[in-house]
């Protein structure tokens, strides 16, 4: 072998091939999508006029409409988000515990719990809302359950991971002292996962406030229902009011969450 200057290569051939395949797939996906997407160019030409028309109709914002329907719908949205989060926390706790291998050292049960969590997360909250509207009829109940079922997967997954990361020392000490299962949970695990639990709960509540604002579009209660009827009647000045209200609530929720997090965690 001739000892030439050794060429340094960062990646092996296989690694470069894998990266190349990913790039190829991305480019192919873009090209295929661009070629086959159905876009009606006529609609695009008058887009600036349409946007101007949109803003002209949105202004002045119909502030008077806030008293009554919008205010109540806004409160309902917050209730949906809060009740949904509480219900999700209650339902996700047992599933999260079952998913944690150090608490339930039995793999089939862990996998079953993880399956529940994955299926909860892979269904969009709007789809959950559709299902619950089909079962319970239109209204806030369907929205609350949709928020709850969508959140179980998120809360349960993060809570289960927090449990699995808990230090085994305090739990071993408790079981060595003969503590029953409930005491091991309340004095061994709970203090360790408490900060994680509260930050997950707050985080999810923040997301749920945003999500519950659109659930009304499929009839599941809250401000989305008022938005839907204003849209169907082309009352754009009311739509503008509702959008402002949604932004205000979302910003408020974020401020509340950051304040609570600062004081509590």
């Amino acid at each position: 072998m001739i000892e030439g200057p050794r060429r340094w290569k960062r990646f092996t051939f296989g690694q470069r091939l894998a990266r190349f395949v990913v790039y190829l797939v991305i480019v192919a996906a873009i090209v295929v999508s661009l070629q086959t997407i159905e876009v009606i160019p006529e609609f695009l030409y008058d887009a600036p006029e349409q946007v101007a028309d949109l803003f002209a109709r949105m202004w002045p914002i119909d502030w008077e409409h806030y008293q009554g329907p919008v205010h109540e719908a806004l409160l309902e949205t917050i209730h949906i988000a809060s009740l949904g989060t509480i219900l999700a926390l209650l339902l996700a706790l047992p599933v999260g515990i079952l998913a944690a291998h150090n608490l339930v050292p039995f793999t089939p049960i862990n996998l079953l719990a993880k399956l529940i969590l994955v299926s909860s997360r892979s269904v969009n909250s709007l789809v959950w809302a559709l299902l619950f509207v089909g079962i319970f009829g239109p209204g806030a109940l369907a929205g609350t359950l949709a928020i709850a079922f969508r959140s179980i997967g998120f809360v349960g997954k993060l809570f289960g991971e927090a449990l699995e990361e808990a230090q085994p020392g305090p739990i071993e000490a408790l079981s060595a002292a003969g503590a029953p299962w409930t005491s091991r949970m309340t004095y061994g695990f709970w203090p360790q996962v408490k900060p994680a639990f509260w930050s997950i709960a707050l985080f999810r509540w923040d997301i749920n406030v945003r999500e519950s604002a659109v659930l009304g579009l499929v009839g599941a209660g809250g401000i989305g229902m008022v938005l839907d009827s204003a849209l169907n009647l082309f009352q754009w000045d009311r739509v503008a009011l509702i959008l402002v209200a949604i932004v205000a609530v979302v910003v408020l929720a974020e401020i509340v969450v950051t304040q609570i997090r600062r004081h509590l965690i």
């Binding site: 990646f11 092996t12 296989g14 690694q15 091939l17 990266r19 395949v21 990913v22 991305i26 873009i30 999508s33 997407i37 159905e38 876009v39 009606i40 609609f43 695009l44 887009a47 349409q50 946007v51 949109l54 409160l75 209730h79 949906i80 809060s82 009740l83 509480i86 299926s119 892979s122 269904v123 969009n124 709007l126 789809v127 559709l130 299902l131 089909g134 079962i135 319970f136 009829g137 209204g139 806030a140 109940l141 609350t144 998120f154 993060l158 004095y187 997301i207 945003r210 999500e211 604002a213 659109v214 579009l217 499929v218 209660g221 938005l227 849209l231 949604i246 932004v247 979302v250 910003v251």
Partner: protein
């Protein structure tokens, strides 16, 4: 024996405020349920309905599969194009918004754009774009592009603000111009995190592209909502099964891309150690 135990102070102090908070929580739940007219009776009626609802949901009806495939294809196109467009727009914006590299007069407007892009749910943004550019896939693409700009822009800015300044200074000390400093000092430090949230965003866009159709912005969502309103439940079931499988395939692909770019996997060990070293996706939602 029991006498000595009783004299010991309790190992764990009992505090009053958790109980008060629990009480307040119960009061709130009762109050909110009353406000929203949620009662046990309604739940009972609903559970009765559930039986009928699920019996009409199954078996799923795949006879109109052409419409289904067309809708899913459009959702995929929306997701791909919105992710590409969103990422391309978000990168310069995220760079401009990072306070450690850019002057305040540039970073604050860029931050404002990113915050504005995040303030609405994608479905609401889709409503506005349907008005602006009409019904169809273009509105969906634009709505999800805005969502992508908001998410990627925010995370990219945070990633850049957390980089180590040493490498940047080293590149700058060699007299490198600004763009070389970005390309060789900044981007390599944030590349793996960028892959993480780009794949996450593609995943999230795929989920949302199946939903924006509810407001007329293209994709399978329109078909789903129309079938639901016609009480065509067995077709709804078929659509839902297809959407969920599409999303799961998308999640697997995202995991594969993360494994290749972050863990330097090759194609063959992608299949061999499946799931063993997969990184966690970014924790956020939709």
């Amino acid at each position: 024996m029991s006498a000595t135990v009783a004299k010991l102070p309790p190992a764990f102090e009992r505090r009053w405020w958790p109980r008060l908070a629990a009480l307040a929580l119960v009061v709130y739940i009762v109050y909110a349920c009353g406000q929203m007219e949620i009662s046990w009776q309604r739940i009972e009626v609903g559970l009765d309905n559930a039986h009928r609802f699920f019996s009409r949901l199954f078996p799923p009806n795949f006879t109109r599969w052409e419409l289904l495939v067309k809708g899913l294809g459009e959702s995929l196109q929306i997701a791909v194009l919105a992710s590409v467009l969103g990422i391309f727009l978000a990168l310069p914006l995220g760079l401009a918004a990072s306070r450690n590299l850019m002057p305040p007069w540039l970073s604050w407007p860029a931050r404002a754009i990113v915050v504005a892009a995040r303030s609405f749910h994608p479905v609401i943004v889709a409503i506005l774009f349907v008005k602006a550019v009409g019904f169809g896939a273009l509105a969906g693409i634009l709505a999800l592009t805005v969502a992508s700009i908001g998410f990627i822009g925010k995370l990219f800015t945070e990633a850049i603000e957390e980089i180590s300044p040493k490498q940047v200074e080293a590149v700058r000390a060699t007299g490198a111009p600004f763009f070389s400093m970005i390309a060789f000092g900044v981007l390599p430090q944030v590349f793996s995190r960028f892959i993480g949230f780009a794949t996450y965003q593609l995943d999230s866009n795929l989920r949302n592209s199946t939903m924006v159709g509810i407001v007329g912005a293209g994709g399978i969502g329109g078909t789903l909502f129309a079938a639901f309103q016609r009480f065509d439940y067995d077709y709804v079931c078929a659509i839902l099964i297809s959407i969920i499988s599409l999303i799961m395939v998308g999640e697997l692909l995202a995991m594969a891309v993360r494994a290749i770019f972050i863990d330097n996997a090759t194609l063959s060990n992608l299949f061999r150690r499946r799931g063993a070293r997969i990184r966690e996706s970014h924790v956020d939602d939709d």
